[in-house]
Symmetry: C2
Subunit: 466 residues, 2 copies
């Protein structure tokens, strides 16, 4: 049902402006310069044309039905404009401006008025007080951010629903740098109409979307969310950054979006019950979503580590086995045959024990053979591989080598370094191989594959009783 | 006493080679291309000149006293070559090759032999089995890594001592990307002579060095370290990533460097007693060292947060106040006057409560005023500032604004985003303002300023009894 929102055949920009300092200018420019290829209808009664497009006085002047109307007028004009949109049969309306319930009584009244107008027709509304949506595939972008200072991510398989527009954009900017792709981004705003639950239902059936991530300060309908999430997580992973988990955080959230806190222990229980993976930061949010989108869950807790740098192997081992500052899983006990086969491949002073350290003299060739061997060892459930390009024999070919070796066992990759390493991280991402720029992030990504696997097994076991 | 090691007036490369696949070629090329400006003496009996330099048959042929000899020959030739170096009065010797005690009995014997030779003179030795040293200021670089695939950091104030050469180089590569500078890097190798304790003593009196960081799997002399660290941390911060903190990690470390584990609880106690800041990952190691090097410690636990993105403020508040997935400090209770002053500056719908959220409509101007106000509020001990450049009014000028406002209270900066944000992170770093690319890293940096402040206060209190 949100198809026309994410892939509209026509967009009206109500409040289009020639003044470059105005949002009505930036949004129009973004649509044109990013090559949105549906019809664009700028609306402003005072001008006749803008950026080479005919400008309309009102919605009524437009012959076609408009799929999406972006309202960039100040709050005071929004209710009336929503009414016009509803009357004109616009399918989706996004009012960008703030100044509604988040700012006091007067704003609340405006929201009430808007809700009344919405009842008169079938139009749906995102927001108000939102940065709107960003859809890489269709180039629909209602965010008002200067493209010189932000990178928008490419098309991909993660759907991102955020109660904070800014946090969403910042996070996507960070991960665009690693080439992470998104199927859609929705800033919920004050969600007087469309909410996270409806969107979750939609993404459940959207084939492009392999995982959903939320930034949320409070659930609009927690009970409904819990049920929906339980259905959703059977099919796809859901990662949630629930802010306001401390008393101070709850207070901050109430200042930000007016969110009323729920007891974090209850939230925690709901997440566990319904298979939601919890993130605590913007970094974990996307790190977790992409590993879950790209890799199978772990079927057990025994991990092998493969590295060319001994120290990295030792620190990773600590993170794998520690419960505090670590993920509390197990280092796999490699089979005797496995160790013998590996010994035959690596240098005499290298280590065939787990963590397997082939040292800086080894590289692509050894990785290919050892990954094959580890795939055959029943004592290994998942593999953490470091692709450390600073040495001679680890080359770009290692990306294909790892890709070829992702079979039943999940593989998570660590790539540590500067500009060159980032370039390689981007290439791993293009191949849907989850790769991370630090030891901690690499190991934590593996952990959520375990958490999800365990949840799915628990559900399968209890299948009869559910 | 290590002055000639880090700033040698002459370097001999014993085993210089014309073959580009050889280490003796790479190291010589690194010295020349990075413009080390002392004398370079390539030594190889089989060639007469290399890369435009005269090549010597033996050390004896050289008239001058050599400050530093890098031995790039295989292990079997190393003892004899060390003997020649000692006899020639070379001040520092770095044998790069592995194949010593880390690889078995035979290697142990070689080390014994080397130790005997060292007794005959005053030469000192780093390693063997080491990547040696890297000194940005003097361009001395004995690491054998291809410069196309690694970035070496610039000159700066952090001294890095590592028991793992590779982990050290990878970590510096990561942080070179953020423009973090180092005064020196030393890879300890098998440390049959020079160890971390001696180096710590040296850096204690090195004015350039503002903080020291260690990657270590076992202490050569733990008791001496504890005493030295206690002296050192009175003057300067010391951050240690002690790997092998779990049973599995200890096993991995013994495979890597032959390290014998000590009970991690004892280590933890020693660190607390002697004021060592503990890091758990390569990222924390440098993140902590630089905040400690650039900022004063916190004098209390009450933090203010300043942001243009409400969601970032909420998540940060959670991290500040939570003990699990957080740092367990306090959100400052801003004074009434403070809140009133801030209210007069920001938009009516923005928040003058802590976290202070000036919203995307605010920027440089508001930051300058509010930072001044927060500096005057006695209820605030430290300030977390987000410089989120995606919006219009936050510009590069904010770097100077923050710089001007670092007075008695420490400030830590968060800059979240992609390529543009990284560029700004680099500029913050150039101004010695600790800035971090994620919420979690920003908050955790503030925590170590608290830990160090608390330690120094505790010591000052107990001063009489110590």
């Amino acid at each position: 049902m949100f198809k026309e929102l994410f892939n509209p055949s026509s967009i009206a920009v109500i409040g289009a402006s020639k003044d470059e300092s105005k949002i009505g200018n930036v949004i129009l420019k973004n649509l044109i310069s990013e090559k949105y290829n549906g019809k664009i209808y700028p609306i402003n009664p005072k001008i006749s044309d803008i950026m080479g497009l005919k400008c309309y006085k009102t919605l009524k002047e437009i012959d076609e039905k408009v799929d999406l109307a972006i309202i960039v007028l100040p709050a005071e004009y929004v209710p009336e404009t929503v009414k016009e949109c509803v009357d004109a049969g616009v399918r989706f309306i996004i009012p960008i401006a703030g100044g509604f319930s988040e700012s006091g009584k007067e704003g609340e009244l405006k929201e009430k008025e808007i809700k009344e107008y919405l009842k008169r027709g079938s139009s749906r509304l995102i927001g108000p007080n939102t940065v709107g949506i960003y859809v890489p595939q269709t180039k629909v972008n209602t965010a008002l951010t200067d493209p010189d200072k932000i990178s928008y991510p490419k098309d991909g398989s993660l759907a991102f629903i955020s109660q904070s527009g800014a946090l969403g954009l910042l996070t996507m900017d960070s991960f665009a740098d690693l080439n992470v792709g998104f199927s859609a981004f929705v800033s919920l705003g004050n969600r007087i109409d469309v909410d996270e639950n409806e969107l979750l239902k939609y993404f459940s059936n959207d084939d492009k979307t392999k995982a959903v991530l939320y930034y949320i300060e409070n659930f609009k309908n927690g009970r409904a969310f819990a049920e929906l999430a339980r259905e959703f997580t059977k099919k796809k992973p859901l990662v949630v950054l629930k802010a306001g988990r401390t008393d101070q955080g709850v207070k901050a959230a109430s200042l930000h979006t007016g969110a009323l806190g729920s007891d974090d222990k209850i939230i925690e229980g709901v997440f566990k019950q319904s298979g939601v993976i919890r993130a605590y930061s913007e970094t974990e949010l996307v790190d977790y979503a992409r590993v879950l989108a790209y890799q199978k869950p772990l079927t057990g807790n025994r991990l092998a580590i493969l590295t060319t740098a001994g120290g990295v192997g030792v620190v990773t081992t600590d993170y794998v086995s520690a419960s505090i500052n670590g993920i509390g899983l197990k280092m796999a006990n490699l089979k005797k045959e496995t160790k013998e086969q590996i010994k035959n491949i690596i240098a005499p002073f290298a280590s065939a024990e787990n963590p397997i350290d082939i040292t800086a003299g080894g590289g692509d060739k050894e990785y290919r053979e050892i990954l094959g061997i580890l795939n055959d060892d029943d004592n290994v459930d998942g593999i953490i591989v470091y692709a450390l390009f600073q040495t001679k024999y680890v080359t770009e070919n290692i990306i294909d080598i790892i890709k070829d070796n992702i079979r039943e066992k999940p593989i998570v990759v660590g790539v540590i370094g500067g500009a060159y390493a980032r370039d390689m991280l981007r290439k791993f991402e293009m191949n849907n191989i989850p790769a991370y720029p630090s030891i901690e992030r690499t190991v934590k990504a593996m952990k959520v594959l375990y958490t999800r696997g365990e949840y799915l097994r628990r559900r399968a076991d209890q299948n009869g009783s559910y």
